[in-house]
C-alpha cells in the first residue's frame, strides 16, 4: 500500500467517525430542544390556566362555562382585598425607600472603603439573603415581642381607606431588603471604571463634586435595579409579613393565603391575575432601565 492510499483510507475512516457523532449530535440537540420546550410549558401552563379561569363564569375552577368578569367585580367590592392592596403598596414603597438609602450607603462603604469590622459586616450583609425566610420571620416575631415594640400600627388614610400598618412589618421588609440592594449596587460599583473618578479629581473636582457628578450618575442603574428588586421582594413577601403583623393585617399575599385556606374560588384567580400583571409591569420597567443603563449585568445575574 502506498503512502497516499494509507492517507486516503485514514481520511475516509476519519470521515466515518465524524459522520456518526454528527447524527448523534443532531439527535442530542433535538432532545435538548424538546426538553427545554417541556420545561417552559411546565413553568408557564399553570400560570396561564389561573389567568384563563379568572374570566370563567362558573364558580368551579375545572369547568369552563363562559366568559365573565364577575370575579373581578367581586374582587373590587371586597374591601379587605382593596385594603390589602393598599397595604402592600404602602409597605413596599416605604421599605424600598429606606432600604435603598441604607443599602446604597453600605454598598459604597463595602466597595470603596476599608474600615474596622469589614469582614464581619460582609457576613452580616449576606446572611439575610441566604437565611430561610421562616427563620428570619420568627426571629423578628420574637424580637418585636420581647422588645415591647409589638405590632404597633402606623395609622394613615389613602384613597379614603383607613390603613393601619404595623411598624414591625416595614422594619421586617427593610431588614431583608437592605442586603439585596447592597448586593446589586455593589455589583454595579465593581463594574464601574474608576479612572473616570480619578480623572475628575485630576481636573480639580472636589470629592463631593466628583461624587455627585460622576459616581452617583454611574451608580444609578444599580440603584434603580436594587430599588425594583426591593420593591418586588416586598410586594411578594408572605412569610415575614405573616409573622410580623399580628392578626387582622393583610397584604395581598397574606389575603390570598387566607382565602385559599378558606376554599378555592375564582376570585382568588382574579386577584392572582392582577398581581401577575403587576409583576409583569415591574419586569418590563426593569428591562427598560437595564437597556438604558448600557447593557450591564442582567437583572437576573445579581442574585448571587
Amino acid at each position: 500500500m502506498s503512502a497516499t492510499s494509507v492517507q486516503a483510507a485514514e481520511a475516509r475512516a476519519k470521515e466515518q467517525v465524524r459522520v456518526a457523532p454528527e447524527r448523534r449530535v443532531r439527535l442530542g440537540s433535538a432532545l435538548l430542544s424538546l426538553h427545554s420546550v417541556l420545561i417552559f410549558l411546565f413553568l408557564w401552563v399553570p400560570i396561564i390556566i389561573v389567568v384563563f379561569f379568572s374570566f370563567n363564569e362558573s364558580q368551579f375552577l375545572a369547568e369552563w362555562t363562559g366568559f365573565s368578569t364577575r370575579w373581578y367585580v367581586e374582587m373590587i367590592e371586597d374591601e379587605q382585598t382593596i385594603v390589602a392592596l393598599w397595604n402592600s403598596v404602602f409597605v413596599a414603597v416605604v421599605s424600598t425607600v429606606i432600604s435603598v438609602v441604607i443599602g446604597t450607603l453600605a454598598a459604597l462603604a463595602m466597595e470603596r472603603y476599608q474600615f474596622w469590622g469589614k469582614l464581619g459586616m460582609e457576613g452580616l450583609l449576606y446572611l439575610p439573603i441566604i437565611i430561610p425566610d421562616i427563620a428570619m420571620a420568627i426571629m423578628l416575631l420574637a424580637f418585636f415581642n420581647l422588645s415591647g415594640i409589638g405590632f404597633t400600627p402606623w395609622r394613615l388614610e389613602i384613597a379614603g381607606l383607613r390603613l393601619s400598618v404595623p411598624y414591625s412589618v416595614i422594619i421586617g421588609h427593610v431588614a431583608f431588603n437592605i442586603s439585596f440592594v447592597a448586593v446589586v449596587v455593589r455589583a454595579r460599583l465593581a463594574d464601574m471604571d474608576e479612572t473616570l473618578e480619578e480623572a475628575a479629581s485630576d481636573l480639580y473636582a472636589g470629592p463631593w463634586q466628583t461624587f455627585t457628578r460622576i459616581t452617583l450618575p454611574m451608580m444609578m442603574p444599580g440603584i434603580v435595579a436594587g430599588a425594583l428588586l426591593a420593591f418586588t421582594l416586598s410586594l411578594d413577601d408572605f412569610v415575614i409579613t405573616f409573622f410580623t403583623s399580628g392578626a387582622g393585617f393583610n397584604t395581598l399575599p397574606v389575603r390570598v393565603f387566607g382565602l385559599v385556606k378558606k376554599g378555592v374560588t375564582p376570585k382568588i384567580n382574579a386577584i392572582s391575575t392582577v398581581m401577575l400583571a403587576g409583576s409583569l409591569t415591574l419586569v418590563l420597567i426593569a428591562l427598560l432601565f437595564q437597556r438604558k443603563g448600557g447593557g450591564t449585568k442582567s437583572i437576573m445575574e445579581i442574585n448571587l
Partner: protein, 286 residues
C-alpha cells in the same frame, strides 16, 4: 469637620456603613440571639418563655416524632435541588447556546415566572393538582382515562413538585450565567483532540460551570429546606416540613422555646451547607 472626614477615609467608610450596621445589628443579629436564647429556655405554663437553662428543646427535636420530619425536610430539599439541577442544566445550556435574539426571549420567559409571586405560583399548581376538583384529575376522569383520581395532592409528591416548580429558575439563572461565560475554544480544543462528548462534558464543561452549579444549588436548597407555603398549601395539612412545625409552635401551640430550637437547627444546617459548598468551589478552583 468635613476636612477631617476627607482625610480619614476609614472614618468615612465607617459612617457610610453605620446605618446598615446598626439596622442589622438591632433587627437581625439581636433577633437571632433572642431565638438562640429562647431555644435554651423553658416554656411557661401559659405559653410564655421562662429563662431557665435547659437542653430539653433540643432533646425533643431529636425525638423520632419530630426528627423524622426534620430528616424528611432535608431529604425533600436535597431531592428538590437534584431535580432542579438535572432539569435545569440542559435548559440553561440550551438557552446559553441560542443566538442573541433568542437568548433574550428565552431569558425573559424564565425571568417572568421568577419575578411572579411565589404564593400565586403555588396556588396555580394547587388548582391543577387537587384530588377531586383539580383540573388534571377532573379532565382525565371526564375523558374516561382514569376511574379514580390520581394521588397528586396532599403528599410528598405534591410538595416536591411545588418546590421544583417554585425554585427551578433559581437554579437555571446562575447556571445560565456560568455556561454563557464558558470559553468555547476550550471545548473545541477538546473536540479537536477527539475527546468523546461525555468526556468533553465531564472534564471541561462541568468543572468550568461548577460555580454556577454551586450557586444554583444553594439558591434552591436553602429555600426548599425552609419551605412553609408549599407544604402548607400542597401538603394538604398531612404532609409537613420543618417550616410548618416551626409555624405551629409559634402561632398555635405557643411553645416558642421548642420552635426556637427547631429554627436554630435549621439555621445551623443552612450555615453548614453554605460553608461546605463554598469550600468545594474554592478547592475545585485551585
Amino acid at each position: 469637620m468635613i476636612a477631617a472626614l476627607q482625610k480619614h477615609r476609614s472614618l468615612q467608610g465607617g459612617l457610610l456603613i453605620l446605618p446598615a450596621a446598626l439596622f442589622l445589628l438591632v433587627f437581625f443579629l439581636a433577633p437571632f440571639f433572642i431565638v438562640l436564647g429562647y431555644s435554651f429556655a423553658e416554656r411557661g405554663t401559659y405559653g410564655g418563655v421562662v429563662w431557665n437553662f435547659t437542653l430539653e428543646n433540643y432533646q425533643r427535636a431529636f425525638d423520632p416524632l419530630y426528627f423524622s420530619t426534620v430528616l424528611r425536610s432535608g431529604w425533600i430539599a436535597a431531592l428538590t435541588t437534584l431535580l432542579c439541577l438535572v432539569l435545569g442544566y440542559p435548559l440553561a445550556y440550551f438557552i446559553a447556546t441560542r443566538s442573541e435574539k433568542w437568548r433574550g426571549v428565552l431569558l425573559l420567559a424564565l425571568i417572568i415566572p421568577f419575578w411572579t409571586n411565589f404564593l400565586i405560583r403555588t396556588y396555580a399548581l394547587l388548582t391543577l393538582l387537587r384530588t377531586n376538583t383539580g383540573l388534571i384529575n377532573v379532565t382525565l376522569m371526564n375523558l374516561g382515562l382514569i376511574r379514580q383520581p390520581l394521588p397528586l395532592f396532599g403528599n410528598d409528591f405534591a410538595i416536591l413538585l411545588g418546590l421544583v416548580y417554585g425554585w427551578l429558575p433559581n437554579m437555571v439563572l446562575p447556571l445560565y450565567a456560568a455556561i454563557s461565560r464558558l470559553d468555547h475554544s476550550l471545548i473545541e480544543a477538546a473536540q479537536d483532540l477527539y475527546a468523546p462528548g461525555s468526556k468533553v462534558f465531564l472534564r471541561v464543561i462541568w468543572p468550568l460551570t461548577l460555580p454556577g452549579v454551586v450557586a444554583g444549588s444553594i439558591l434552591v436548597f436553602i429555600p426548599a429546606l425552609g419551605a412553609f407555603i408549599t407544604p402548607a398549601l400542597l401538603g394538604g395539612g398531612k404532609s409537613l416540613m420543618i417550616g410548618n412545625i416551626i409555624n405551629n409552635q409559634f402561632l398555635a401551640a405557643h411553645d416558642w422555646p421548642f420552635g426556637s430550637a427547631l429554627s436554630t437547627i435549621m439555621i445551623g444546617i443552612m450555615l453548614v451547607v453554605t460553608i461546605v459548598y463554598f469550600r468545594m468551589v474554592q478547592k475545585e478552583a485551585t
